[in-house]
């Protein structure tokens, strides 16, 4: 795995059905992982809605982002983060999420941004 200064942090702020932003971010993550570039994801703000279990995208004839997200461990993408405040502000239960994400307080979120070599935000 690459050294920290050669790792990417993909920051995504969109919910699962907000245009193609969430999918564009995920595609970049999967591509980077396929090239064995170290990559982490910060689910900020509305992006924490991506992590809800029991999403049924087919109800609106959409492709399931949640299904795609569950492939992340297979791609060895395990650095997953979300600000605790983003979940709290939306009344979401941190113990009932699709993926094991590391919850961060606001200071830790700011520190996370400093710790990666490059940041790409969506």
């Amino acid at each position: 795995m690459s050294t920290p200064d050669k790792q990417l942090l993909v920051v995504v702020g969109a919910g699962p059905h907000n245009a193609t932003r969430a999918r564009d971010a995920l595609d970049l993550v999967l591509t980077s992982a396929a090239f064995e570039i170290g990559v982490g994801i910060l689910f900020r703000d509305d992006a924490v809605y991506q992590l809800l279990p029991q999403q049924q995208a087919d109800a609106i004839d959409a492709k399931s982002l949640a299904a795609n997200l569950q492939a992340l461990p297979l791609y060895d993408v395990e650095q997953l983060y979300a600000p605790r405040s983003a979940l709290e502000a939306r009344g979401l239960d941190p113990d009932n999420l699709l993926l094991p994400v590391q919850l961060l307080d606001d200071n830790a979120t700011a520190a996370l941004l400093h710790s990666y070599g490059q940041i790409l935000s969506f």
Binding site: R21, D24, T31, F35, I37, G117, Q118, F122
Partner: protein, 130 residues
Amino acid sequence: MKIAVLVYGSPTASSAAATAYRYARAAIGLGHQITRVFFYGEGVHGASALAAPPQDEVNWGQRWQQLAQEHEIEMIVCIAAALRRGVLNQQEAQRHGKSAANLAAGFELSGLGQLADAALNSDRLITFGG
């Protein structure tokens, strides 16, 4: 310095292409190199040769073409995002059985690996969101 630019907004629904262009021109003016501009998401609309804005409005795709030509900038358009939105070169039009191609000259369709590479191998990656 070697600078890569990411344009993630469409030229009509956002100012991303315009601001990124001004940034790139200023960077070149200061003696820096813009190595690659990557068009992703709605940004790929900026690479359509069929955009025909009125003469008294700026055609941002054309401005990018000129700048790229003068300063040897790679202009990469995300192929997956482009196919979804109907921005195709001749080869992709054939692959997908479409009647026309519209990728403007100077732009190249390629994969997201080019963005990951730009992020890690340029001195800076500057994102312009839509």
